[in-house]
């Protein structure tokens, strides 16, 4: 027997004195070893002290599960000190998933019948913390008895135990109903609040009980009224408010009872108004009650005047100096803005003011709320504030805010001109923090509105927006020279000389601050301008050619490719560098929710409009021949893709119609022709949006282009033959989502021995290509009857196999047995299968195992 163990206090000192984690570990390990030894010796004298030490060690994060049983021993001890620590240990070390619960249930039952109220209290407290469904069933009747106890100390604890029990086993609710009803006529606030808590739980779990408790509304109203009207009561006062905890609980229950019930709501309208007007609001506690009142008013069928009052309370909250209250107000307004928009609108100014709050969580809420408040009539005012916010805000807000503005302007812009102006201001204010959607969105808007293209160029000219500016200059740079840069006759047009424009772009190209992507934009713009400008073509050619030796591979390639357009294929340049036709307008709000427009193949490309343009540069082409073709080939594919999508018809049909125009032309002419065709096609085929589809990775696009280039350079006689199969592939690669007709799957004989033959037939549902449905047909090959047929299959772990029951266990000759297996192959791995069969023939049991080797590879491809 070891000597007197270390006291808890001393152990804590020792542990705190440890200077390193290793030292602490050493102290703890030594003590744990000692405690274990002491537990083994069943030393009951120091058990309590040892468990207490163990609980401290547990809090430090060390394992302490070996103390679980000792806690139970302590609980079983007659001493209160032991029980107190024992129950504490039980709550900390056990939880409802422990098997040990069977043991504790008995102790709990005993203690729930103990004459000492504090022992009963400990048992109730423990039950309330760790009750499992089994414990709940076993002890519910004890709790129900205590719910009717004359002792308020036990009644309130029993009420919360019942609350926990109902949470675990809702069927037990019934037995508590009669006793619960009387709880809310109690004088004791502890019993009242626990009773209300219990009723809320019951009402939320059962609609019948909800109706049953509708009749307590008047009592609740009375209690609440007494609370707010009664004078100062020191026992329940919290900074001048009488029992806020109870008030909030009652308000919550009123909310549950009044929801969608006009009659009950009517009964509580008055008291809600009284609470809303009579509550002291200088402290957090009063606001906690007001907040709960507002939630209740919003949730029940309250009078409209009351709802306005509620929103006004939130409006006042927004002016509160306490940031927690402001946060709560914004959060609540955000939830009610859709129901009571006009009421919330009145606090617009205050909400916008919150954008200046130093607390980021409040700023973020205010921003969300501001966007929810924007409508057609206030967009100009709101935008002014939001743009001001955008200019000053931190990086983390810029992306969120700019995207929000873009989607709001898309929905509510009063006119195009304003829309473009706002977008340009967003671009300037948010700069590098923009999400890509903003850039592409802006370009699209400019592209769509022919009348503003010149204006936009004029505005963008010299603006610090390299990407959008480059794109616009490339497309509409000639308007700078012609002076068509004013949106209306009254305004002074912006005019620049060709050299100035080229200087500007050259500046972007040579700046060390421009990203590669920006330079790609600029280089393309320059090449495009070569067809719009007359005197600077030589300069442009020089600049473009100089990029043929650029260190960046993308830019170098682009330089070389474009240089070809100035030398070898100069005739092609004007056609290739045509203006991009207006981009198809997309449905509003799409700016933020990228590509969610549904099943059509180009939905994701839709938003990346800009990428399309870019993509023609990032494309890696192998021959110089194909270089000029890249852009148009892309467009051609787009066209094909578009058509494929629209018609949902087979791709080869479309391709052959294109090919039929080609035969007489030579290779280069063919390119040109296709290019021309593409452009004319895009205008005549109004249903096919031209430059839309975008491959996601440059690798896939280069593949596609190479293929196309090969196709195009192949002799024309082969062409029509060559296209159909590979064009199928092209479009596959492009759209990614285009469904391919499932190949016909051959049946397979999986097993043919011992007089049993098992055949597999396969099916792959079109809507779920990862699923293979295998139907096995088991037949008797010698004509004898097979009994007790049992088929089992195993597949690798990456698969999921589901076996349906067999149609029978007896195989008669001529009547095969069928069974279905569903195999899910999410990784599209190679399917392997082992099978195990057992059956009996002529009374002889046969068992066999085999591997199915000849599964068709089409199953996983």
């Amino acid at each position: 027997m070891p000597s007197t163990p270390t006291r808890l206090r001393d152990l804590i000192r020792q542990i705190r004195a440890a200077r390193t984690a290793a030292e602490e570990r050493a102290v703890v390990n030594k003590e744990c070893a000692y405690i274990r030894a002491s537990f083994r010796e069943e030393d009951s004298q120091w058990r309590c002290r040892n468990v207490a030490k163990l609980l401290y060690i547990h809090m430090l994060g060390y394992p302490a599960h070996f103390g679980q049983l000792e806690c139970l021993n302590l609980i079983a001890s007659p001493r209160f000190t032991d029980k107190r620590i024992g129950y504490l240990g039980a709550m900390l070390l056990l939880d409802e998933r422990q098997d040990i619960h069977v043991l504790i249930t008995n102790s709990l039952k005993n203690d729930l019948n103990n004459p000492v109220q504090f022992i009963v209290g400990l048992a109730l407290c423990t039950l309330g913390a760790i009750a499992s469904p089994e414990m709940s069933r076993d002890l519910a009747s004890e709790v129900e008895r205590l719910l009717k106890s004359t002792n308020a100390y036990l009644r309130k604890k029993a009420a919360l135990c019942a609350f926990r029990i109902i949470g675990k086993v809702p069927e037990l609710m019934e037995m508590f109903l009669p006793a619960t009803r009387s709880l809310i006529s109690d004088k004791n606030h502890g019993v009242l609040i626990t009773g209300v808590t219990l009723i809320i739980e019951m009402c939320e779990r059962s609609p019948d009980t909800l109706i049953h408790f509708k009749k307590v509304v008047p009592s609740l109203v009375r209690i609440l009224k007494n609370l707010i009207m009664a004078g100062y009561s020191p026992e329940h006062d919290v900074s001048g408010v009488s029992d806020p905890f109870l008030q909030v609980k009652i308000l919550r229950l009123l909310r549950v009872l009044g929801h969608n019930d006009a009659e009950a709501s009517e009964a509580m309208n008055d008291i809600l108004a009284q609470v809303a007007t009579n509550t002291e609001t200088s402290k957090n506690v009063g606001n906690a009650i007001l907040y709960e009142t507002v939630l209740s008013i919003m949730h029940i069928k309250s009078e409209s005047g009351l709802r306005v009052l509620a929103v006004n309370i939130l409006g006042r909250f927004l002016l509160n100096s306490d940031k927690n209250i402001r946060y709560v107000a914004l959060n609540t307004l955000l939830r009610t803005v859709h129901a009571d928009n006009s009421a919330v609108q009145r606090h617009r100014a205050t909400i916008l003011e919150c954008l200046k709050d130093p607390d980021v969580s409040i700023k973020r809420r205010a921003l969300e709320l501001s966007f929810a408040l924007i409508n057609g009539s206030n967009i100009r005012v709101m935008m002014k504030e939001l743009l001001a916010f955008l200019e000053k805000s931190d990086a983390e807000f810029k992306a969120q805010c700019s995207s929000g503005i873009v989607s709001a302007t898309e929905r509510f812009s009063p006119n195009r001109r304003w829309h473009v102006d706002t977008l340009l201001r967003v671009l300037i204010a948010a700069g590098n923090f923009l999400r890509d959607d903003v850039v592409s969105n802006t370009i699209q808007i400019i592209s769509e509105s022919a009348s503003l293209q010149g204006y936009a160029v004029g505005q963008l000219w010299r603006a610090p927006l390299a990407q959008v500016a480059s794109w616009c200059l490339g497309e509409y740079g000639d308007s700078l020279i012609n002076g068509h840069t004013n949106a209306s006759e009254q305004e002074e047009p912006v005019i620049a000389g060709e050299d100035e424009v080229v200087d500007f772009i050259q500046g972007i190209l040579s700046s060390s601050q421009s990203t590669i992507v920006t330079k790609q934009y600029a280089l393309t713009a320059l090449t495009k301008l070569s067809t719009r400008f007359s005197v600077t073509v030589g300069r442009i050619e020089d600049i473009v050619t100089s990029f043929g030796t650029h260190l960046n591979v993308e830019l170098q390639q682009r330089g070389i490719e474009y240089a070809q357009l100035f030398t070898k294929h100069v005739a092609l340049r004007p056609a290739i560098m045509e203006r991009i036709p207006p981009m198809e307008h997309k449905t509003s709000h799409q700016g933020l929710t990228n590509g969610s427009s549904g099943g059509n193949g180009f939905s994701n490309g839709d938003d990346d409009m800009l990428m399309d343009d870019l993509n023609s540069f990032t494309t890696t082409s192998i021959t110089s021949h194909s270089a000029p073709a890249t852009k148009d080939s892309n467009s051609l594919l787009n066209l094909l893709g578009g058509l494929d999508n629209f018609d949902n018809g087979p791709a080869p049909m479309v391709t052959s119609s294109k090919a039929s125009t080609a035969p007489s032309a030579s290779n280069l002419d063919l390119l040109d022709l296709l290019g021309g065709l593409d452009l004319s096609g895009s205008t005549t085929l109004s249903s096919a949006p031209p430059p839309i589809t975008t491959p996601t990775g440059s690798t896939s696009s280069s593949l596609v282009n190479n293929n196309l280039a090969n196709l195009l350079s192949s002799p024309t006689t082969q062409m029509s033959a060559a296209i159909p199969p590979s064009s199928n592939f092209l479009i596959d690669g492009f759209l990614g989502t285009a469904p391919t007709p499932p190949p016909k799957l051959q049946n397979v004989t999986a097993y043919d021995k011992n007089g049993l033959r098992v055949d597999f037939s396969f099916d792959r549902p079109v809507d779920n290509p990862n699923l293979v449905i295998v139907t096995l047909t088991a037949s008797s090959s010698y004509g004898s009857t097979l009994c007790d047929f049992l088929f089992q299959a195993a597949v690798p772990k990456t698969f999921q196999l589901q076996m349906m029951p067999a149609s029978s266990t007896v195989i008669n000759s001529g009547i095969p047995v069928t069974q279905v297996m569903r195999i899910l192959n999410p990784t599209r791995a190679v399917l392997k299968m082992r099978i195990k069969l057992s059956f009996s023939r002529d009374g002889i049991a046969i068992q066999d195992q085999d591997e199915v080797k000849n599964l068709p590879s089409a199953l996983w491809q």
Binding site: A52, F80, F118, V238, A288, K323
Partner: protein
């Protein structure tokens, strides 16, 4: 319903943990680690609420100790601040201007106090006086037992 309450120091040391919903030990440790790290990095001028998974986290710092509660979406975060405050007041009354060391060396008492204020994640008593009375009476029971034990040891009874 409150899901759990954690007390931890500015150094991130856990001082008290009360779980009202069953969790595996590993999960408890992970949640504690995550929350302690998140809350300690928040600046003082930020508000006391966090949205965290499905729960709302309400925390408040008293001297060197953070009190952190996880409540459900339908619970009132402002009132939760009052519950925390009430608990601090009770500890203060009991220990006489409580400090972190009191809670370290008498962690079991801090648990007992919490168990008289809350049960199963809900408030069970709204009167400070009643809570303190119940604690005092139970302490007295323990003292009586201690005296009795001491007397038995020296053979007086």
């Amino acid at each position: 319903m409150m899901q759990f309450m954690l007390l931890f120091s500015r150094q991130g040391k856990l001082r008290l943990q009360k779980w009202y919903s069953a969790q595996p030990d590993k999960t408890k440790k992970k949640i504690t680690r995550d929350l302690v790290a998140t809350i300690l990095t928040r600046k003082p001028k930020m508000c006391s609420f966090l949205e965290w998974r499905e729960l709302k986290i309400v925390y408040k710092r008293y001297a060197s100790l953070y009190f952190c509660c996880a409540i459900e979406q339908s619970d009132n975060e402002l009132l939760t601040l009052e519950i925390i405050h009430r608990y601090v007041e009770l500890l203060d009354k009991y220990f006489g201007s409580v400090c972190e060391l009191d809670i370290i060396f008498n962690f079991e008492k801090a648990y007992f106090m919490l168990d008289e204020l809350m049960l199963g994640g809900e408030v069970q008593e709204t009167s400070k006086k009643n809570v303190l009375k119940a604690i005092a009476a139970q302490d007295l029971l323990q003292e009586d037992e201690a005296v009795e034990g001491a007397l038995r040891e020296i053979g007086l009874i």
